[in-house]
């Protein structure tokens, strides 16, 4: 595909479109990726990332990560830091409809030899215990009032009610409870859509996977050892978000912002999906408090799923989860906006960092990282396609250029509509079984849409992030069993 003429290569893995590329751009746009990845990106990425560069208060660059592809308003893989005290805006389009869509990684004391003979049983039981698919509902029956407590307290609510361990919280971003969530700022419709969905995966690219560490896939022996990830070790990874609740919060505020943006705040945008409001405005503050409710809903969702995973493994192996060593490695959001302190051109600033399909990757020594990881950098969990593999990375010191942000996954290269014509779900399942990967799905065509061939090469994405100095590889995980929404 033809690259935009104005695209300048800054380094091997960093590309720039100058602020002169489009009227209204306040800062240049920077795209991360190898030559191959940048050429594979759809045209929409260049259009969208330069639209983002027009937003009021944007600092330094509008960024796109190596896994970038078409999104709404922002591209997926988009990162933008707004000057929180200097007129910067907050935009639901910079966060995504699935607020706090994120990844959780769990290790076990089990090895490949323990799991392989019981893989089918494990996957079948996990498929029954963790509901997936269209409009699925969870086992937790809550009143609307209890749900309001969950969205203000997040995973902490779950642990207090017996669905997890205290150490789970220490190893979750924001300790599983983002402060400042205010349930009075979310609509009744949002509560209607979410209050029975805690503990569910959803569909699309959401999944839960049993994976193995193979010796040849250990990228950094010392780091892998620090995480206790040795050859043959079994881990469980899952990817999901705030379900219908978060989607409605985003929809509600997108519409509110469209109403007030021009008339009240005189902000003009190039795409309705970039609707925004000044961060310090009443509407901006309300959205921030409502978005935090969705962050918490999602932390609670993943905490309940962890609880179910522990129950299933415990039943299959006839031992308590503690004995099986089913412990968190980390839980991280990749659709969010967070207020962070960053140094920009030697000046300390309070920035609202939007990450949409991008993962925070704080470097070693930063205070927000759990104590046990503080010297090595924040863990980053990158989900790949169900056929290829996934990664654990850590944030390096050099991440400043991207406000300590890195990719979130593989990134699609083929549309769902095209993929479902190319593959058949049942055939794909049989083919994967021959390769030692057992998959269960709520939707056969959904499975076909998620075929590995519809995604970019994850090794290339992660390699580009490492080469650009915004992530460091630890281990690549190979899939063994998968449940798909």
């Amino acid at each position: 595909m033809a690259l935009p003429h104005a695209l300048r290569r800054v380094t091997d893995t960093v590309w720039e479109l100058p602020a002169s590329y489009k009227d209204g751009m306040r800062v240049p746009a920077r795209i991360y990726g190898t030559d191959k990845l940048v050429r594979e990106m759809d045209d929409a990425v260049y259009d969208q990332v330069t639209n983002v560069a027009t937003l009021p208060g944007i600092v330094k660059y509008a960024l796109c990560m190596p896994d970038g592809h078409f999104g709404y308003g922002f591209p997926i893989g988009g990162v933008a830091a707004m000057d929180a005290e200097g007129g910067g805006v907050i935009s639901p389009g910079g966060i995504g409809f699935d607020i706090n869509c994120g990844m959780r990684l769990i290790k076990t004391d089990l090895t490949y030899d323990d799991v392989q003979p019981r893989l089918t049983e494990l996957v079948d039981k996990l498929f029954a215990a963790v509901p997936a698919g269209v409009g699925s509902t969870g086992f937790l029956k809550l009143s609307r009032q209890e749900f309001r407590a969950v969205i203000e307290q997040g995973a902490q609510w779950c642990v207090r009610n017996g669905y997890g361990w205290n150490e789970d919280l220490e190893l979750t971003e924001d300790s599983g409870r983002t402060p400042g969530a205010d349930a009075s700022k979310v609509s009744e419709r949002a509560i209607d859509r979410g209050f029975n969905q805690i503990g569910t995966l959803g569909s699309g690219n959401h999944y839960l996977e049993i994976q193995v560490v193979r010796e040849e896939n250990i990228c950094d022996k010392n780091l892998a050892q620090t995480f206790g990830l040795d050859p043959g070790r079994i881990v469980v990874m899952f990817h999901c978000g705030s379900r219908g609740f978060g989607h409605q919060v985003a929809t509600d505020y997108l519409q509110l912002f469209l109403k007030v943006m021009e008339s009240k705040y005189h902000i003009r945008i190039l795409d309705r999906e970039l609707a925004c409001a000044p961060f310090t405005s009443p509407e901006g503050r309300d959205y921030f408090a409502a978005m935090k409710c969705a962050l918490n809903m999602s932390f609670a969702n993943r905490q309940m799923i962890l609880h179910r995973v522990r129950e299933v493994f415990s039943r299959v192996y006839g031992q308590p989860a503690e004995k099986l060593g089913i412990r968190m490695i980390y839980d991280i959001a990749h659709n969010t906006a967070k207020l962070e302190r960053h140094t920009v051109d030697g000046k300390a600033m309070s920035l609202l960092v939007h990450r949409k399909g991008a993962t925070r990757a704080f470097g070693p020594g930063m205070a927000e990282i759990p104590a046990q990881y503080r010297t090595i950098g924040q863990p980053v969990i990158i989900g790949g396609s169900m056929e290829t593999g996934s990664y654990l990375l850590v944030g390096p010191e050099g991440g400043k250029e991207t406000f300590f942000s890195t990719p979130h996954g593989s990134g699609r290269t083929m549309s769902r509509t095209k993929a479902r014509k190319q593959w058949r779900g049942r055939e794909l399942q049989a083919d994967m079984k021959k390769r030692g990967i057992y998959v269960r799905t709520a939707s056969w065509s959904g499975l076909a849409e998620e075929a590995g061939g519809a995604y970019k090469n994850i090794d290339e994405i992660v390699g580009a992030a490492e080469a650009a100095g915004i992530a460091k590889r630890v281990v690549r995980f190979a899939p063994l069993g998968n449940i798909k929404g």
Binding site: S415, S443, G446
Partner: protein, 143 residues
């Protein structure tokens, strides 16, 4: 009237074009396209439950957006799969009014072969327009 899915518009999501000879027809076609993203066979949805949908908006395109959102809402809030059976759209004092009767039933994984959950109706490239004798809508659903 009818709808078809577009291959090269939205990489990670689903785009469709719906058409109709009347504005009512294009609304129904877009509603069917949205439900067909979630369920393979719309015929498998039986009309056991009825819902009345009354909406108003100053913009006709946003009225369509509201109708599609309503279907997504019932899918999550009540696990209801709904098909629009009757619909009337009128304009009064600059406001468009929609009155519809939808019928459907609770999602039953045994009988309804699922496809993909719709998270949201997006405004990206969202258009509703009349060209010659045909109404056309372009919609991208977030998956």
């Amino acid at each position: 009237m009818g709808y078809h899915y577009l291959e090269d518009v939205a990489t990670a999501d689903i785009a469709f074009e719906a058409t109709g000879e009347t504005v009512e027809q294009v609304f129904v076609a877009a509603a069917e396209a949205t439900m067909n993203v979630m369920v393979e066979e719309l015929r498998s949805i039986e009309g056991r439950v009825e819902k009345r949908i009354e909406l108003e908006n100053r913009d006709l395109d946003m009225l369509l957006f509201d109708l599609l959102q309503e279907l997504v809402y019932y899918k999550d809030a009540q696990q209801l799969l709904l098909r629009v059976r009757e619909i009337a759209i009128a304009e009064r004092d600059g406001t468009y009014l929609l009155s519809a009767r939808a019928a459907g039933e609770k999602l039953d994984p045994e009988r309804h072969e699922q496809r993909a959950d719709v998270k949201a109706v997006t405004l990206h490239q969202f258009t509703l327009q009349k060209t010659d004798a045909l109404w056309k809508a372009l919609v991208i659903l977030d998956i």
